[in-house]
Symmetry: C2
DNA sequence: GCCCTAATATGACTTCGATCATATTTGGGC
DNA sequence: GCCCAAATATGATCGAAGTCATATTAGGGC
């Protein structure tokens, strides 16, 4: 059973006895989505927590002005849904498969039961939520900075997620940085001219993260 | 004991037996701050959770470009610190007394212990965190909208906090909306001309919240 | 291999809101 | 009551980035 070992690799469950994981496992349902498919829509009843098994999922909001914004990327072995759903009856954003993706779902009601049963899980969830909240606040710090700084910020975060080669297009970066494709492309041209990144179609390679961090600080 | 009744009025503790609250109470320390004083600085060790007894506290970040931004206002009987501190060793923002304020502090380590002991508390905290996270995401939705819409958004939220008369200056609103005082004043002039608000120095009166919501939707 | 769509690229123009400057008003403290 | 600092107000200017238009390139599917 490949999926059994999957559950035990999840950070939130790491302190729960392996024998109990089998029971938890039993209620999980595996689902597959093709790139671009919706896992759930904004406003759908939030009835599951999700775990990414393979691929990447993004949380998108559609603003009144029509421009989409990517709030966050959830990579392999990460949980989502929990971040927004306790106390909320519906998903506050649109979940989209960023790549071909395999996820596991777990019923929200049962998950709340697990929190009572396992204080360690509760701790891990609270920790995860507050980490995301800190991240979110952190993003707000940059939201009034220049587009260039916001893009640098997004890139620096993505290096943590993907390593030095980021498999995303300029459009995707622009949606994460809250700008337009055109502005994003122009900014990247500048970065390439200055030699701090190189890129191919749908792929960005960072030579040295420190250079990005330094550039973010100046003027 | 006035402070004893205070603890029992806190939302997060509402499901905990009153007899246990006395013990919790014992570790709380009351502190008073004058308007403008700092409760903690960004980067201070996050060693306490806080409860507002009287007044208002704001969470501020200082961006690289020097402009301050108010992330949130915490009103009477609300908890803060928890939102950012689990798993984080330091406060990620600057806590400032928005008015003359009385707060109660509770040691972070003991609070984590309480979470294990009282699943109901754990639930309440998780719920609070995810509510704040949803709010935060919600703010991001507006951050790429026009200044007018952002200001309307801030006002609508503040009505929930203060009722129809908001005791804040245009400077304070501008810091919450991520704009300048001048632009904020100009926008308010427009609102007043159209009769959807009236105002005195440091006080904004909303005639009808629905008018704000409607205006937020157009064009 | 070819086609079509999406990604990358670049120019021209416009606009929103920041910035700077300068008044005027007002309430709290002495 | 007077003074002063902060709040409100308004004009003029500038620049970053959005918008629109148009080209070029490259990869995936048949």
């Amino acid at each position: 059973m490949a999926s059994k070992s999957f559950v035990s690799t999840l950070e939130v469950f790491k302190k729960i006895p392996v024998s109990h994981l089998i029971e938890i496992e039993r209620k999980m349902v595996e689902k597959k989505y093709a790139k671009g498919e919706s896992l759930f829509l904004e406003g759908d009843p939030a009835d599951n927590v999700w775990f990414v098994k393979e691929g990447h999922v993004k949380a998108v909001i559609h603003s009144a002005s029509g421009r989409d914004m990517t709030l966050c990327m959830i990579g392999s072995r990460n949980m989502f849904g929990s971040c927004c759903c306790f106390g909320g009856k519906t998903y506050p954003c649109h979940g989209v498969a960023e790549t071909d993706t395999t996820v596991m779902t777990y019923p929200m009601g049962d998950f709340l039961g697990l929190l009572d049963k396992y204080p360690e899980l509760s701790h891990a969830v609270v920790e995860g939520l507050s980490r995301r909240l800190r991240q979110s606040k952190d993003m707000q710090t940059f939201e009034q900075e220049s587009v260039e700084k916001r893009i640098l910020h997004v890139l620096i975060n993505l290096v943590g997620e993907f390593g030095n080669t980021i498999p995303l297009t300029r459009r995707e970066i622009s949606e994460m940085a809250g700008t337009t494709v055109e502005t994003c492309i122009r900014t990247f041209s500048g970065f390439e001219k200055d030699g701090i990144i190189s890129s191919a179609r749908g792929k960005i390679t960072i030579r040295n993260v420190q250079e990005l961090i330094d550039r973010q600080k100046v003027s």
